[in-house]
Every structure is written in C-alpha cells, then in structure tokens.
Amino acid sequence: MIKLKINNREIQVEEGTSVMKAAQQAGIDVPNLCWHDELEHFTSCMLCLVKDGRNGKLIPSCSIEATNGMDVITDDDEVAEARKTALELLLSEHVGDCEAPCQVACPAHMNIPLMNRLIAAGKFDESLEAVKRDIALPAVLGRICPAPCEGACHRKTVDEPVSICMLKRFVGDKGTGNVIAPAEETEYKVAVIGAGPAGLAAAYYLRLRGIKVTLFDKADKAGGQLRTEISSDILPPDVLDKEIAAILQTGVNFQGGKSIDAEMFAEIRKEFNAVVVASGTIGDESSGFGLKATPKGFVVDKNSYQTSIENVFAIGNALRTSRLAVRSVGQGKEVAFSVWQYLCGQPVKGESRIFNSRFGKLVSEEFSEFMKESAPAKRNYPDAGGDHGFSAEEAVAEAKRCLHCDCRAIDDCKLRIYSDRYQADQKRFKTSERRKITKLTTHSTLVYEPQKCIKCGICVRLTEKEGEKFGFTYVGRGFDVEMGVPFNEELEQGLTETAEKVAKSCPTGAISFKTTCPPE
C-alpha cells in the first residue's frame, strides 16, 4: 500500500493508483475532461492539475502514480487558477452556444428551442408543459410580449427570426388544462400581495412546489394591469380569464378586493411563513411596509429578490416600474425558488444561471451548416391575420424553422459544468477571429460539431480500442488539429458499433445524439 497525504489528509491506496484516483477514493473530486475510465491516461486537458506540495510543482494527477510520502494539494488558489486558465483556453476555441441565444435573451429564460421542437413534432400538450415550466401566462404573453428572444434568434441572421412569440401564443391557446401537477402539499404558507403578472406567476410557481398560497389583490378580479392597461383587442378578456383560472385552479387562495395597508401587512407577516410583495409601483400603501426602499421601489437582492426583511420578497413593478410583463412573469418564477430556499432553511441565493458558452453572431458561411437541421421556408404569418394566431399546420411549419442552436449536451457537458464551477471567462482569450462552425449531420443517430471539440482524443482512443474499421483519427496537428474519420469517409463509417459509447463519452457536445436523450 502507498501512503500519501491529500489536502493534509493521510490516505492509503494500492500501488499503481493514480493521484487522481487516490483523491477520488478519499472523496475529493478532481475535474477532468480527457480522462476515460476504460482508457489509458492521455494528459491532454490539464484540468486535473494538482500541486505536489513537496516542490510546489503542478502535476497532471490523472497520469501520475501516487507514491509514498506524496503531499498533494488539490484545492488551493493556484490550482484553481490553473484550472480556470485551462478552461478559458479551451473555451476560446470552443465555438458553440450552450443555451440557445433566444433562451438567454428571454427575461423568463424560457426553453424556447424545446418548445419549438415539441410543436414541430405535433406534441402540443408537451410543448405547453415546456412553456409553463418558465412562463405562467403563455397565451397572455404570446399577445403582448415584445419578444426580445426574436431579436437574438440566429435565424434572424439567415432570413427572419422564428416567430417565437406567436408560437408561444399558439401553445397557450391550444394547450389544455393544467399540464403540470403541483408537488405534494407542504405546511408552508406564503402570502402573495398583488395579482398582476408578477404575483400570478409567483403564486403559480409557489403552488407547484406544494406551498399553500394566498393571493391578495385590491381588485376583485386577478390580473392587475393586464386587465386595466391593455386593450381588449390585443388581449381579449376571455384569454386572460382562462389563463388566470388555470393558475388559480392549482389551489391558490385568491382574496380579491383587499388593499393591504401597513397594519394588515404586519399581520400577514405574522400569519404566513413568507410574503411576496408584487403590488406594483410603490405608493402610499406599501410605503408603510417597513421595507428599505428608494423612490423607484423596494431594495432587494438582485438574485433572490429578498428585501431588507428576511421573509419578505419583492418582485415586478414594486422594484421599478417597467412595462415588460415577461420580466415580471419571470421574476415570479424566480422568487418562488428563493422563497423555497428560505422555507427550507437553505442560504437564500436565488436561482443561479449556469455558465453559457456563446459564439456571437452567425456568419454567412455558417448559414448552410445551421440550415441542415432546419426547414428552409420563410417566416410564417397566420393566414387568418395576426389577431387569429397560427393554425396547427402553420405552427408546425414555423417551429421547424428553428435552427436547434441549443447544445445537445446542455445538461451533462463537463466543459460547461467546470467552467461554471471555476467561473471561467470565455471572452478572456478572444484574441483572434473564431473558427467557423460546421455541423456533420449525416450520421443516422449522431451529430458531430467539430468546433465544439476540445481535442481530448477520447473518440480516437475509444474507436481504436474497440476496433472500429475506420473510427476517428487526428487530422493535422497542433492548434489546427481536428478529429475526423480517416480518408474523409462518412461519419456513419467511422462510428458504427461504437457510436453510442463515443457520444456518451464525449466530454462536450461535439459528438452527441440527434435526439436529446439517448436511444433506449
């Protein structure tokens, strides 16, 4: 047995164990990208660097055997900076978006590409479910949203953006009932003050977590400014009613006709575990709540919406006056998360946005690459006129125009996870023009996007080990090296039996399954 110290802990491992494996056995995670359990070490990504405390040198822990008397440090500032720098170097040549730009641009951070794909597949109920994960009022917003998402849409660079807003409206109109069932009822009680878009959304997402919600509004009917400030031509009352009803049906206790003054607010605070203030632009009533405020609105933590009072949160126009309903709706979802953290006794940090790789604007050489996964048709407009929305056929046709900009490896990309963990800055080494994106889509089950590749060589080593006839190989060397099928054979030729294994082993989204989940 080998005795060594890792982070000042004495541990014993079998002879021949790598430093990385030794650390893992001691429960210490060491990040790695080029490591694969079935393959020999390769020492490429350099993310597994740790410090040899005896001489202060950084060593790649996946490739070095643990020896007696080693004193390894895996988590000091220098090691962290080394990993961060390695990630930033990799990110500087990693050309691709994690989340699609539309989703990043959406104030409610809605998973737009997923909605599009479900519509394109004719799965309208599922698409409503996807929408309602992030947006409580799709039919409403589908009529009034200024659609920042469409401004960011890559398809806009090709011809015109996907008609995302209209698709959302279609989903909201077409989808039926409450597609997401609330979680099991808890004992937590939360009051939401104000039943405008922010308050309605907050109430909805708190309910989905099983929280008992009481929603107060000074008006008799819920809807706030949606009901008073928007003409019924644009937002017909029945559309609003239907969508509000769906929210209230989840079990929200709506108390209309109740203006909340300072006294009542104090009582509510006592009676409920937490309070969400969504009462609109602050005025005389709310000024007595005892919350820290500026003339514009309440002061909150920008991630958690927590006010100066621990169990009081504030969202929407109560923070500052804005006419962007989608932002209020998004905040309603986010505050539910913060409130949940508070109720569970966790640190109240709010929903954090994970790292996103971005490549910027699409350039003309890339149009054809992105169009490989899309329909060439021009943007659709409802035949019956804008007031009527898409027909199902129109919606499907329009949804097919989506370019699938979101990465298929969005949830399990190691590069993304580590970039987030080490707070990597993708723009740090933006020192020259980026590579042009290509997409190889001819394989029956896989897509290969070479510019996402980080050259870890796992695909080459795996196909070699598994005895693929062609497999993958390195083409070229140095910075310009690419992984490809030898003799420019088709992808299908290179990855036959090993296709699934290679896709699963790719640490980024360079080689991934065509469908978002692996075939069973």
Binding site: M46, S92, T431, K455, T473, V475, G478, F479
Partner: protein, 780 residues
C-alpha cells in the same frame, strides 16, 4: 484499384507490414508520387495491419508528408532566425507575389513551383537564403525574386554548370577579403587594398574584392583572405604591399607557379559576408553548409569538431590515423562497463540537447534496469531555426558519433541502437548510412566488435519533420510509428522507453564528445570549462555578427568573448543589442549582460537556455517584440497539440503578439501576455510547451519598453510593418529606381521629380529603400 499498386506491395515488402514501419513506408510512397495519394494510403490500410486511423493520423502529423501533389520544383525559403533578422519574411512575401499565390495555396497555378518555408537550411551567414531544388541562393533581397527564378530556369538541364555564378551570367572565381577593422586600417590595410585592386585590374581576373570588419586577430594585421570557389580559403597575416601580387597569383593563375611565400595560418572553411552590395543573386550548390569558424586567439577548443576542416568525413583510415576508434581499443582492453560509466560521470559531461542532465547518471539509470532488451537512440532531430550543429556533426564526423554510441552501448549493455535523423538532412543520412556500412565492414559494428565479444547493431531512423520529436518521449513515439506525441514522465525512457524497454536517448553532440573523454581521460575533459559545466559546447553563431558559423567553445566562456572576439563584433558598425541563445526555447540576453558566462545555470538564471545551441546576435535595428513573435510563431506551429496549455496557450500568446506587432495592441495586452506565458510554462506537458514562452518572458523582462512603445503605436526599430509607413524625403533625386523596383506600382514613375509613395498601395516590402541610391526613403 488494387492492380495499380505493385510499387506499394514492393514498399511494404521492403519496409515491413507493421505499424513500426509506417513512417518509412509513407516516406517511400511520397518518394514515388511526390505526395501521398489517398488511394495509395487506402491500399496500404488494406494490405497491412496498420489501420486507416493510424495512417491518416501519422501522415497528417509530420511536416514532411504532403497530401496534395507538389509542383515540379520546390522553392524552400529559409525562415530560420538568422534569415528572419535579415528580412526573410519580406523575401517570402515577394515569392508569393511572384507566383501569384492566393492565401491557402503554396503551388502556383502552372504546377511548376511549390513554395515552402523551412526553419533552417544551415547557411546562416548567407542569410536570407532560398533553395530552389538543389541550388542555394544566398543574400536574396525581395526585389531579386525574378532573377532567382530566371537564373534557376536558365540552369535547368545544364550538366556541370558552374555552381558559383552571378545572375548576370559571369563567373566568379572567388574573392579577396581585406580586413578593415580599425587595427587593420592603422596597420596599413588601405595600401594593401589599393595594391590588390591594381593587381586585379591589371590581370583582368574575375575576382570580387570585399571589405570585412575586424576579425579579432588584431595582433596579426593587416589581414588578407583569399577565398577561391573551390578549395580552402586562405588567410594571410601581416601582409605587405609587395606580397600582394604573388598571393593573388598563387590562387588565381594556372597551377604551376607555386610561389609559396604564404604563411598559411588557419584553415578558414567559412564564407564571410559582412556587406551586401550584390547586384545579382548568388548561387551555391546544395552541399553549401556552414562550416566551423576557425579558432581565433585560441578561445575555441575542438572536441566534437576535432580536426575540423582536415578530416575527410567518410575516410575511416584518416579517422583512425587521427586517433579515431582508439578509445574503443582502450575501452575493450582496459575498462569494464562500470568503469566507463564512472569515467563519464567523472568527466562531468551533461546532455548537450539543452536540459543539461548529467550524461553519466542517465547511463547509470538505464544500466540499472533489469531488462534483456535495451535500446540506444542518438537524438539527431534537431529542428531549431538557426541551429544545425547536429547536422554538421553527423555530416562531418559520423565516425566520431558512432564511436560515442559504441561506448555508450558497451557501458550500459545495449545491443541495438538507432540514429534518429531528420529526413530534412539528406546528406547527414547518406553519410551516416555509408559510415555504418564501413564500420560493419571493419568490425567496428556487428558481432564481436574488435574481438571484444561485444555486439552492437546500429540503424538509421529517419524523422519526418516534427520539432517536438526532439523531446525524447515524442521521439520514441515516432520511432514506434505513431504521431509524435510526448508522454508524461515518469516513467522515464530509461525505465520504459522504446516498445516498453529501457532506452537511452542521448543528443548527437553528447555522443560526439564521448570518445574524447575515454581516450583522453575524464580529467582532461573536466579540466575544460568550469566547475559543474565541463567540456565544450558547439554553437551556431549567426545573425548580425561579422563572422558567423559553427564554433566550439569551452563552457563558461562569456557572451562578450563569443560575440566580439570569435564573431568579430557586429557587422556594419551597428550597435550590439542582444544575443538570442537557445532558439525557440531560449531567451534574449541584452548587451549589458554580455559578461554572462555561457553555462547551463547562468543562462537559465538570465531567462535564456542552453537549448540546442543557436546563438543569434542582434543589433540595434532588431525589434525585440518581433523576435518574440518570430520564435513563438515557430513553437506554436510545432506544438503537437496534445495538451491545452501548449496547443491553445501558445496560439493565444501568438495572437496577442501578432496584434501588438500589427499595431492592434491595447492596454492590458502586455499583462495578459505575461500571465499566459507563466501559465503555459507551468501547465504544459513537455519541454516544448514549458520553454516556448521563454523568448516572450525574457524580452518582456529586458525590453518591456519596446512592448509598451508598440502598444502606443510605435515600433522603435521600424521593423513591424503594421506600425510603419514609407515616405520619400527631400533628398530624392528623381532617379526612378524606387519606382522601378516597387512591385505594386505604389510609386508613380516621375523622372527628375521628387517621388511619392501611395501608402494605400504600399505593401512595405522595403524594395524602394534598398534601391534608393541617396537614402531618400524614410521609414517611420
């Protein structure tokens, strides 16, 4: 398709059908087709156990292999350090213009010529150098490209054409050089010059008269050197005017009149070029190589280069007459393997490949390993721009290197060895191959060497063009037939090397010094140099020095001695600025530290490195940011691409440097460059990446103000084309020379009027400035 590949069947039969034969097979295929046709490679995959992945991976890794057909003629433009500082990139651009090559192509549309950048042709004193097939052109200026090609074409098909010619077709019989250093002038070289001129004019000889700067032998002035095209140059000391006629006649008259008044002092096997007033292009044969500079004032000690200029490389009897192989006799008769190792350890010799690991200790490591099979590799994969000592040693002293290998093999207990030689060194390969053959015939190799009972077989393995293969683990991967990826150490090659067996890898120069240690004894060797840095080191001295070439000096000699005494100082009266030592892994040491001794530790402390031994002298006109960019562009291009810090780190450093030298630098760039250099050094897997930032770090250390000036939009030396503009000043006499030379018509043809330059059209090729007879072109 299978029917057409009998030639490939033959190659496979010759080289073997296994992966380890892959590189030799590919070399043979390329020899047949001048590139690697995909169909041929597919056939190879079908007929052997070598997989398509291995074939494509290897073929695309090494520079030597071409996937597209090349032109009929290959134009190699040397972009080594010495050529770079003398404007090789302008020459390269001029060739691209000449052949009208769009970006991304290197063969002209007639398919006649392919342009190729090479890192060093080993003729640094002729810089900038261009090789067209097997003819070498020296001192090529950007405006001479047409002449070079015209001259090359005029020579096509002419057998036995004169190898030394001017572009105007006249023959040069040689040249006479007169020292014009201050001592020479004081001693009367002016009178000598007049006399030489008059003798030459009267005789009608076609001889060039050249002035050279101080050659350092100030106690022997005045000096006259006669350099005939064939044969050895001769240096005459303390010449009197009345000697001149006879000196010249003895060289250039028909043989017979051999008035031997000459005091033949030194063999001078080097071409000195200190000024460049050539009209035409100069052409040399392919074997034109840098030869050692003779020892002045005795500060050179030839060990690896013993009997330089005297010994015939392949004459084994000549070699033996001069003590060759006597160390073997002594060893086999008197020394046990342990004693040999002990002797080498005692000598203190350290690996001459750069890192300076004690050779004897390395031998001991391999010796200790319990393994039936062990291998020996002589590392001749020199690929440094501006270093060619390994090539010179292999070409000129193959027996000495073989002798060193026999000693190493005997000491360590090895019976199989390889010469790893770059395929770009065809002459070295040829010489060593022949030398091995002769050694076998004479029982210096094979079974029972010299009756000692010791067996050793040595073979040649030709590298295929990858600088990283100088790294021993990458070199081993290459011999095994793989991409030249380095591996993490440990395990060291001494424990697990070639095909998993203990392997001793030593540099060529190290091997060339071993026989001396055994023959003369460790003490004699360790008496040379300084404590901890014993013996000698061979350097390729080049750049702005008056007298460049290969030198072998004792360790611990100062930079000052090398530059001023051996190199004869800076040419053309410019100011000495810095030396770049160690090539792309080394660094720049500024003139104020010229008293730094040249040894492993002192150089490292200064931020440079012994490296493989390039020593490039820079003068005040050299831009240090450009130097850093130059070296980094080399290592970046040579990165194998395995690890993140080297693959991407060097690329991003180069991006920043390119931005800075292009005038696109911004505040913060210098700091980011510095940080990234530090991380690339710390985080890279092998020596290439770990040392690649050195040129950047050392120039940042000593010349930071130059970086800052670039950020502020000024290149202090006017070298960086992105930061300079060309204009005509009032000295212009309206002679139209500039307009005639301008390749892009940026100067209107206006005789007798002051010329002007259209800066929008100007490509900053420097042709106008070189052409102007009155220095009327300003570069600011």
């Amino acid at each position: 398709m299978t029917s057409n590949f009998q030639n490939i069947d033959r190659i496979i039969q010759e080289k073997g059908a296994e992966k380890k034969s892959l590189i030799p097979i590919l070399q043979a295929i390329q020899h047949e087709y001048n590139y690697l046709p995909e169909e041929a490679l597919k056939y190879l995959a079908e007929k052997t156990s070598i997989t398509p992945s291995e074939i494509v991976g290897v073929a695309s890794f090494y520079k030597q292999f071409r996937m597209q057909p090349a032109g009929k003629h290959l134009v190699k433009i040397c972009v080594g350090t010495a050529c770079h500082v003398k404007g090789a990139s302008l020459v390269h651009d001029a060739f691209r213009r000449h052949f009208n090559l769009p970006q991304g192509t290197d063969t002209d549309d007639t398919g006649e010529y392919t342009l190729e950048k090479v890192s060093c042709l080993g003729c640094c004193t002729l810089a900038p150098v261009v090789q067209v097939d097997d003819i070498t052109y020296g001192h090529v200026a950007p405006d001479q490209v047409d002449k070079v090609i015209a001259d090359f074409e005029s020579q096509q098909g002419k057998k036995g054409a004169k190898k030394f010619r001017k572009a105007d077709g006249t023959e040069i019989k040689g040249e006479i050089r007169i020292g014009l250093g201050s001592c020479c002038v004081a001693s009367g070289s002016g009178e000598i010059e007049q006399e030489v001129e008059s003798v030459v004019n009267r005789s009608g000889l076609r001889v060039k008269l050249k002035h050279v700067g101080c050659v350092g032998m100030c106690h022997q002035v005045p000096l006259v050197e006669v350099v005939p095209n064939e044969g050895e140059p001769t240096l005459y000391a303390k010449v009197k005017p009345e000697d001149v006629k006879r000196i010249i006649e003895s060289h250039f008259e028909p043989p017979g009149i051999l008035s031997k008044i000459k005091s033949r002092l030194f063999h001078f096997a080097e071409e000195i070029q200190t000024d460049r007033n050539w009209d035409g292009v100069q052409r040399y044969e392919i074997s034109m190589r840098e030869k050692p500079v003779a020892s002045f004032l005795g500060n050179q000690i030839p060990i690896a280069t013993e009997y330089r200029g005297i010994i015939n490389p392949l004459d084994i009897e000549d070699y033996q007459r001069r003590g060759g192989f006597s160390s073997l006799k002594k060893m086999f008769e008197m020394l046990s393997p342990d004693q040999v190792v002990e002797e080498v350890k005692k000598s203190g010799i350290r690996g001459r490949g750069g890192a300076g690991f004690p050779t004897g200790v390395k031998w001991e490591f391999v010796k200790k390993e319990k393994s039936e099979v062990k291998y020996l590799i002589c590392n001749g994969d020199e690929g440094d721009p501006g270093a060619f000592m390994d090539r010179m040693l292999l070409e000129s002293y193959p027996y000495r290197v073989i002798e060193g290998m026999i000693i190493a093999a005997y000491a360590v207990g090895i019976h199989h060895g390889y010469f790893y030689i770059r395929a770009e060194y065809p002459l070295a390969v040829k010489r060593v191959r022949k030398a091995l053959e002769i050694c076998r015939e004479n029982n210096f190799l094979g079974n029972d060497i010299m009756g000692s009972g010791f067996d050793l077989e040595l073979n040649i393995y030709e590298g295929a063009g990858a600088f990283v293969c100088g790294e021993e683990t990458a070199l081993i991967a290459s011999v095994e037939g793989s991409r030249g990826f380095p591996r993490i150490r440990p395990p060291f090659p001494a424990q697990k090397g070639l095909w998993g067996h203990p392997t001793l890898v030593n540099n060529t120069e190290t091997m060339a010094q071993i026989s001396y240690i055994i023959r003369e004894g460790a003490e004699k060797f360790s008496g040379i140099g300084t404590h901890g840095n014993t013996g000698t080191k061979v350097f390729a001295l080049a750049g702005k020095v008056a007298r460049g070439g290969l030198i072998e000096v004792p360790m611990g000699i100062t930079i000052h001695e090398v530059v001023e005494v051996i190199g004869g100082g800076i040419a053309n009266g410019k100011k000495f600025k810095a030396v770049q030592i160690g090539g792309p892994s080394g660094g720049c040491i500024p003139a104020e530290y010229a008293d730094t001794p040249i040894d492993y530790e002192s150089l490292t402390a200064m931020g440079a490195m012994m490296g493989s031994g390039g020593l490039v002298v820079l003068d005040e006109t050299d831009c240090m940011v450009d130097m850093a960019r130059f070296f980094l562009s080399f290592t970046q291009d040579e990165s194998c691409g395995k690890c993140t810090f080297c693959r991407v780190g060097t690329r991003r450093m180069l991006d920043i440097l390119e931005n800075i030298t292009a005038g696109k630098g911004k505040p913060g760039d210098i700091e980011e460059l510095e940080k990234l250099a530090e991380w690339t050094k710390k985080g890279s897997l092998c020596g290439l990446g770990k040392t690649a930032p050195n040129p950047v770090i050392s120039t940042l250390k000593y010349f930071r103000n130059e970086y800052e000036a670039h950020i502020n939009g000024v290149c202090p030396t006017g070298k960086c084309t992105g930061l300079i503009t060309y204009s005509v000043n009032d000295d212009c006499i309206g002679c139209t020379m500039c307009a005639q030379k301008c390749p892009v018509d940026a100067i209107p043809f206006t005789p007798h009027e002051k010329h002007s330059i259209d800066t929008g059209l100007c490509i900053k090729c420097d042709s106008c400035r070189a052409a102007c007879p009155v220095d009327a072109i300003d570069v600011k």
